[in-house]
Structure formats: structure tokens, C-alpha cells
């Protein structure tokens, strides 16, 4: 339960008491299931993070048109002119 609260904090989630209780049980069950991977000896196995073989994708550094500013800003929950407005930070 304490661990659930800690992880929720890292993920910037605020959980209700019911959610905390529910997730503690469910996440335990799921993690226990995942422990089955320990049946496998992987000491000498390279991990796969990505299946594509290419490493870097380069292209010419040419200027291109960006998106329409107004269409992008139209999605802002709060704005001031061409800026996104957020609560005070400092």
C-alpha cells in the first residue's frame, strides 16, 4: 500500500482510497505472475529494446513550414496570446 502511494506520486497520479486498495491487490497479482520470467536464465542474453536494425536516421537539415500556430494554440486549455498559461511555478 505504501509502495502504491510512492509509485503513484512518481507517476503524478492522485489515487482515491478505493483505488489504492484495488490497485494494491491487482498489481500484486500481476507482479507475481511476472515473476515467472525468473524461471529463465538470461545471464548471457543481450536485451532487445527495439527490433529495427538501423541506429541513426539522418536527413538534410532544411527549413520546412511548421504547423499553423493558431491551430496548435486552439487546443490550449488556457492561453495568453501565443503562450500557454500555467499556474505559478516559482
Amino acid at each position: 500500500m505504501q509502495e502504491v502511494e510512492y509509485v503513484a506520486g512518481l507517476a503524478r497520479l492522485k489515487l482515491s482510497e478505493e483505488e489504492k486498495e484495488l490497485f494494491t491487490g491487482q498489481l500484486n497479482t500481476i507482479l507475481q505472475y511476472m515473476d515467472k520470467l525468473n524461471e529463465l536464465d538470461t545471464a548471457d542474453v543481450e536485451p532487445t529494446f527495439h527490433v529495427v536494425p538501423h541506429v541513426n536516421a539522418f536527413r538534410e537539415d532544411e527549413p520546412q513550414r511548421s504547423m499553423e500556430r493558431e491551430e496548435v494554440m486552439a487546443n490550449a486549455p488556457s492561453r495568453k496570446g501565443d503562450f500557454f498559461r500555467v499556474p505559478r511555478i516559482l
Binding site: 502504491v4 491487482q26 515467472k36 520470467l37 538470461t42 536485451p47 486549455p77
Partner: protein, 495 residues
């Protein structure tokens, strides 16, 4: 509905192309028939989150102009539906999440751009599990979608809306996305064709990210020829997605009729597990018999790490998701909640905006990546992923195509698994190793259960060998009529 309109609804994309070309049907007529159909059956199915009649009719009029000038492409004037995690410029794109309830993309995904260049008509955006996390579409933040073959059943997920729309003839074909089976499993449940292309075959630019090393966009269609047509339209290298493969465009229809004489089909023993529905198993063996009759050879093969795929997948996909979904902070788009300071805004926005499954996966992913657990979970899973990949490499020394069921059961009931996340995860057992290995696979209808529910056959291919998958699937459809059946009585009464 008029008889003529009903006939229009039976036409596949390649049949529409012929009719448009011969000028005995017009794109505007066809769009109107589909918009009417949506009005009539949506109450029963619930496949769409957004229908865009004005946009669709505008695109249909433009398509008509193109046909008049003799400038029609294979998809010019063909009405399609898009999963709601694919960005459509000017048309709301929600990922079925309340956190994006009002998001209007300022750009088109590359796949949408390519379809629009061909003059396709986009009818609307389809329902899904929130952020594509789920196997039944029940995790949508907005509505349930019902399986057109039995409205008390789920359509599968996460691309349940797209698969249901194709099955209910609310569009000719659709796009979905597949991270662990999200195209193939709903295609199987709804009795349609669904393909997850090789990782990198189709650009992910404009697909809202869930698990970036697994996600791939693909077609959901009525038959294999349409699948080839759509794949051809959306595939190809894209500088906007650095993981998209620098492969030349391919004509996926060219080899459809070539037959499968002498082709080696691998049947992995690990996929015929305890708990598999006997009707599913019988249908798969019957399908293998049909393919043998067409000249294919059957080899027993082994994918020894299959049993570890679900655990591996749910570590990797939740890890990637927890990172990808960090962007939903209430600043630039979507929902914003919370009065006080910045931290309060993040907490309130994310807690009110995300549904339970998304929170669960963010929690799991954050946990498996956190200090002290990274090696035990994320690194370990990434190593097992290598073993799973190598299983496929070895298997493909002995065969060209692997044949399995798409799902251990036909469509399960609404509400049946939604409260038991692990049971829901285990229903993906046959589809997820394909994403971990990055190989292509498709599901085609291969039978029906005693209750009249569709059963899906999965064909898995070598990387970038979609052509062979399509050839085998097409040969099967020339011999069978499962893909020609359609659910009845959707317009009568309500649930």
C-alpha cells in the same frame, strides 16, 4: 433500406473501384448510403466516437471530380473509418480518453495524408480501449461497442470500433493499431480480416503513442484483396518516423493469385494449449486441412518461449506507456483540472482524465522502471524478448508461414473479464509474441462457433514478407466463404 443501397453495402473496396471506374456508381451516392447505414445501426453497435458527414460528403464530391477526370486511384471515393488514436487534421481525436476529450489535431498522421492523397473518404473515428489499452473496447472512456455478431459480446479490442464498423457494414474498411493484438483479435472476434504489418512497414507519425517499440498501424477489411490494397496505400518510408523502414513501395496485390503449392506452414505445438476452446481448435485444424489441400506442406515447429510472452509484454508495454503518457499534463491540449500550483494541476488533471486501466498500466510501468526494480523487471523482460525473437528466427528456417489461432476463444461476453485484469491480459496470449518479435501477422475468418460467433486464423510471416501472408490468406478465401457472411438484423429493434 432500398435494395440498391443494400447492394452497395456488400461491395468491397476493389469492387467499388471497378464500379467507380465504369461510372455506374458515384462516390457521393456511396457515401450517402454509408452515412444512412451508420444512422440506422449505430444505436445497436456503437462503433463510432465521431461521425463526420460534412467532411465525408466533401471528400466524396472531390472524389467524384477525380473520377470524372479519369484520375481515380484504387481508394478514390472509398468510405473508410479510422481508429480514434490516429490524428486527423481538424477532426477530433480522443484516444477514447477523457484527457483528450476535446483535442483537434493540427496535422494529419502520415497514413491519413496518404489515404487523402488517394482521395479516400473518411466517415469518422472509431471507438477503442482508452489509449489502446485493453482487449475488449470496454476501457473506452465514452461508450461500449457491441459485437455485431452477438450484441451481448465484446467486439474485442483495442481496435473494437474499427472491427465492428467493418463487420456491421458501417464502412468499407478501416484502420486500427496493434501493439499486442489490437487489430488481429478484434478482427477475429468480428469475422473480418486484420493485419499487423512488420514493425517499421507503416509510419507511426500521427499515431498517438502507447508502446513505441511495439505499435503498428494496419488495415481491417472484409477480404484479403482489400487488405493488400490498404497496406499498399499506407506503407512506405516516412522521414517523420525515424523507425520507419527504408523499403521500396511494394505491389501487394501482384502475387495474390500465385497459389501456395509447396509452401511450408509451421504449426507451433505451444499454441495448442489447455483451455483452448474446442470449437476454435477444430476450426484451425480444418483450416490447415484446406491449406494442405491447396498444396501447402505442414511442419510441426516449436516456439519454446511462448509461455513467457504475456509477462514479457506487460512489462515492456507498461514501461513504454508510463513514459509516453507523461506528456498528458494539462498544459498544451486536452483536459486541465486543479486550482492550486503546478503539481496540483498535474495530479488533478491526470487523475480525472485517465480511466482505471490506464492508471493501472502507468503504475505498473513506473514500478518496473523505478530504481531497484529496473533490472529485475524491465531489463529481464527485454532479455526474454530476445529469446522470443530468436524462437521466430529459428522457426522460419523450417517454414515460410506460421499458422495459429488468433485467440483461444471466440468473442467473450461484455463484463466477463473487465474486473480481472490478469485474465484480460491472458486473452492476448496468441498475438503478443508477434509484436515482441516485430514480425507481420494477419487474422482471417476461418469458421463459426455453434453460437454463430466468428473464429479467426492467424498467419505469421517473416519480417517484411507480408506478400506471402496475403497470398496464403487469399488462397484460403478462394476456397471458403466465411469472409462473405455478414451479421443479420442489425437494423431491427435495439439492445
Amino acid at each position: 433500406m432500398m435494395e440498391e443501397a443494400m447492394e452497395v453495402l456488400t461491395l468491397s473496396a476493389h469492387e467499388l473501384y471497378e464500379r467507380f471506374r465504369r461510372k455506374d456508381l458515384s462516390p457521393v451516392e456511396v457515401a450517402e448510403v454509408y452515412l444512412k447505414r451508420i444512422e440506422e445501426v449505430e444505436g445497436r453497435v456503437g462503433a463510432y466516437l465521431t461521425v463526420d458527414p460534412e467532411g465525408a460528403l466533401r471528400q466524396a464530391r472531390e472524389a467524384e471530380q477525380r473520377w470524372r477526370k479519369g484520375d481515380g486511384a484504387p481508394l478514390t471515393g472509398v468510405p473508410l473509418a479510422m481508429k480514434d488514436n490516429i490524428c486527423t487534421k481538424g477532426l477530433r481525436t480522443t484516444c477514447a480518453s477523457r484527457i483528450l476529450y476535446n483535442f483537434v489535431p493540427p496535422y494529419d498522421a502520415t497514413v491519413i495524408k496518404r489515404l487523402k492523397e488517394q482521395g479516400a473518404v473518411i466517415l469518422g473515428k472509431t471507438n477503442m480501449d482508452e489509449f489502446a489499452m485493453g482487449s475488449s473496447t470496454e476501457n473506452s472512456g465514452f461508450q461500449l461497442t457491441k459485437n455485431p455478431w452477438g450484441v451481448e459480446r465484446t467486439p474485442g479490442g483495442s481496435s473494437g470500433g474499427s472491427a465492428a464498423a467493418v463487420a456491421a457494414r458501417e464502412c468499407v474498411a478501416a484502420l486500427g493499431s496493434d501493439t499486442g493484438g489490437s487489430i488481429r483479435q478484434p478482427a477475429a472476434f468480428c469475422g473480418v480480416v486484420g493485419m499487423k504489418p512488420t514493425y517499421g512497414r507503416v509510419s507511426r507519425y500521427g499515431l498517438v503513442a502507447f508502446a513505441s517499440s511495439l505499435d503498428q498501424i494496419g488495415p481491417i477489411t472484409r477480404d484479403v484483396e482489400d487488405c493488400a490494397l490498404l497496406l499498399e496505400a499506407i506503407s512506405g518510408h516516412d522521414p517523420c518516423d525515424s523507425t520507419s523502414a527504408p523499403m521500396p513501395k511494394e505491389d501487394f496485390r501482384a502475387c495474390l493469385g500465385e497459389g501456395i503449392e509447396g509452401l511450408r506452414l509451421g504449426v507451433p505445438q505451444e499454441f495448442f494449449i489447455e483451455g483452448m476452446d474446442p470449437e476454435v481448435e477444430a476450426s484451425i485444424w480444418e483450416a490447415i486441412r484446406v491449406l494442405k489441400g491447396l498444396g501447402a506442406r505442414v511442419e510441426e515447429i516449436s516456439l519454446p518461449h511462448t509461455d513467457y510472452a504475456v509477462a514479457t509484454y506487460y512489462i515492456i508495454c507498461t514501461a513504454e506507456a508510463s513514459s509516453n503518457l507523461a506528456r498528458y499534463d494539462g498544459v498544451k491540449y486536452g483536459l486541465r483540472e486543479g486550482e492550486g500550483d503546478l503539481r496540483e494541476m498535474y495530479l488533478e488533471t491526470r487523475s480525472k482524465g485517465f480511466g482505471p486501466e490506464v492508471k493501472r498500466r502507468i503504475m505498473l510501468g513506473t514500478y518496473v522502471l523505478s530504481a531497484g526494480y529496473y533490472d529485475a523487471y524491465y531489463r529481464k523482460a527485454s532479455q526474454v524478448r530476445t529469446l522470443i525473437r530468436e524462437d521466430f528466427d529459428r522457426a522460419f528456417d523450417r517454414c515460410e508461414v506460421i499458422v495459429t489461432p488468433t485467440s483461444p476463444t471466440p468473442a467473450f461476453g461484455l463484463g466477463e473479464k473487465v474486473h480481472d485484469p490478469l485474465q484480460m491480459y491472458l486473452s492476448d496470449i496468441f498475438t503478443i509474441s508477434v509484436n515482441l518479435a516485430g514480425v507481420p501477422a494477419l487474422s482471417i475468418p476461418c469458421g463459426f462457433s455453434g453460437d454463430g460467433l466468428p473464429i479467426g486464423l492467424q498467419l505469421i510471416g517473416k519480417p517484411f514478407d507480408e506478400a506471402t501472408l496475403l497470398r496464403v490468406a487469399h488462397a484460403f478465401q478462394q476456397e471458403t466463404d466465411y469472409h462473405l457472411r455478414s451479421p443479420e438484423n442489425l437494423t431491427r429493434g435495439g439492445p
